[in-house]
């Protein structure tokens, strides 16, 4: 994995992006407002096949992205724009 497909910009070099955090594996694109804030902030469910992450195309279009990757192979499974409902 040395490129990420940005929904706006297409496949771009990894160095244009910055990773911010992982989500609990079960979390969907929609942040679950009722989820326990502590767990959301601190706990991680390690799944060697799936990591769900927030990235920003910081040296590009600056879009925030929801990225699904396989951390054991580096394969990018899906990238979409980050979105959710009001807190």
């Amino acid at each position: 994995m040395r490129q990420l497909p940005c929904p706006f910009c297409g496949a771009r070099e990894l160095r244009e992006f910055v990773f911010h955090k992982t989500l609990p594996a079960a979390a969907s694109a929609t942040a679950d407002a009722s989820a326990d804030e502590f767990a959301r902030t601190y706990l991680r469910v390690a799944d060697p096949q799936l990591s769900v992450e927030h990235w920003q195309h910081v040296h590009g279009c600056r879009a925030w992205l929801l990225v699904r990757r396989n951390p054991s192979t580096g394969a990018v499974l899906a990238v979409q724009m980050l979105s959710g409902t009001a807190p």
Partner: protein, 428 residues
């Protein structure tokens, strides 16, 4: 005093001379050749630095007899053999500096304790400051160390020039150097020797070290584990210890317990050997490319590392642009090494906790223990970790030295966030 019983070969110049005439048959395996038994008092998962040191101290100090260390691949194949070999105790928070100082004191005598030369080299660890503000932050840290009885010196530019002429501290730089915090007793240790030395000493004390044996599950009854499933079959265990570094998150998943840990990659690299040039360990954080640390091994290679690759990974394949960052930092410090060549680059998987400090605690079951979350600083912790954790596992009570490393601190707020970075292994 050596901890080894007579069954092992004592190492000395004399033993080498004897072997010279007796041939290679003189030497004995350091740990190899043991058979896995059906039951143990303690089963330790992971023959890295922490697992092996824990086994050694359980056997030597805690009087435990039946101990096994189960290793998926090879002794010392993980981070203990992949790090940049730096040892130091220059931490800010008391919970950390007392612990790491205990470790540093053990490093000072470890070669004697293990009768194995781990090549502890107290050549000084120099944290460089690029602004007056960072100089003050280093002063805060250094003063905290000094009050705890730990050696620390604040070097202004003149003192830095005297201590580290190779640095050319006054050289014109994009980010000029202002001063440094020096810990003279900090330095380096030959990493592989630590794994092998502990494995040999533990084995001599009766610990069974079993390689190519992957633990695949834990059998439990009520609040307790009864043993582990492995690729070599079921092993009964009164206590189970996990010391699996970058794979700790998966252990949590295996036990159904999410942990405040993410696994990230950290790269390191070494140059071709050259004659002595860099005499201490230099740590340098620039606003541009983040962290670079550099030292020169006794073989002559320049050993360099930096910050994390920047996203969770189990692949052990570093990304090239992080390597560029580290090299750019190294050249900012030592422009003269521009013509020296990089020989090898590798990466290790790091168990990053959400406050950057380790976790030594029970894990879900009364008799399951986890020694993890060492982030990128686990190597220097090995001797203290082994001694204190062995006491914990044997007695069931965490010694004062590691009590702060409990898992509940994240929920209670007793965080040990040394850099103040919050629950993010990678700074945004």
């Amino acid at each position: 005093m050596s901890a080894l019983p007579a069954s092992a070969r004592h190492y000395s110049a004399w033993s080498l001379l004897r072997a010279r005439f007796a041939g290679s048959g003189y030497w004995r395996p350091l740990w190899a050749g043991r058979k896995l038994k059906p039951a143990y008092d303690v089963v330790i998962v992971g023959a890295g630095g922490h697992g092996l040191a824990s086994a050694f101290h359980l056997a030597r100090d805690q009087g435990m007899r039946r101990i096994a260390v189960l290793e998926k691949r090879l002794v010392g194949y993980g981070n203990v053999g992949r790090n940049t070999t730096i040892v130091r105790s220059n931490y800010l928070l008391p919970e950390n500096h007392y612990f790491y100082e205990d470790s540093l004191r053990r490093w000072e005598t470890l070669s004697h304790d293990l009768n194995y030369n781990v090549m502890y080299s107290p050549r000084g660890v120099v944290d460089l400051a690029l602004t007056d503000d960072s100089m003050l932050a280093l002063a805060r840290r250094g003063n905290a160390m000094r009050l705890a009885g730990i050696d620390a010196e604040l070097l202004d530019l003149a003192a830095l020039e005297r201590f580290a002429p190779e640095l050319e501290a006054r050289r014109k730089r994009r980010f000029p150097i202002v001063g440094a915090l020096l810990q003279r007793r900090g330095g380096t240790v030959r990493h592989d020797a630590v794994a092998w030395g502990y494995a040999r000493a533990a084995s001599a004390l009766g610990v069974d070290i079993i390689e190519d044996c992957e633990v695949t599950g834990v059998r439990t009854a009520g609040n307790a584990a009864t043993g582990v499933e492995s690729t070599r079959g079921y092993v009964q265990a009164d206590r189970v210890v996990f010391a699996t570094a970058g794979h700790t998150g998966m252990i949590g998943a295996m036990l159904g317990t999410p942990l405040p840990i993410e696994t990230h990659l950290l790269q390191a690299m070494v140059s071709e050997p050259i004659k002595p040039l860099i005499n201490s360990v230099y740590v340098y954080v620039s606003p541009g490319h983040g962290e670079t640390y550099i030292c020169q091994s006794d073989r002559g290679g320049l050993v360099m590392g930096g910050h994390l690759d920047g996203f969770p990974s189990y692949t052990r394949e570093g990304v090239w642009h992080r390597l560029e960052d580290v090299v750019q930092g190294a050249l900012e410090l030592f422009p003269r090494i521009g013509g020296v060549k990089i020989l090898r680059q590798w990466a290790g998987t790091n168990d990053m906790t959400m406050d950057g400090s380790p976790i030594m605690d029970r894990l879900r079951y009364d008799n399951v223990f986890v020694n993890a979350g060492w982030c990128y600083g686990g190597f220097k912790a090995i001797p203290a970790s082994g001694a204190a954790f062995a006491k914990f596992v044997a007695s069931g009570t965490a010694p004062d030295l590691i009590r702060a490393y409990r898992l509940s601190r994240f929920a209670s707020g007793h965080l040990l966030d040394e850099p103040g970075q919050g629950p993010f292994p990678v700074r945004l």
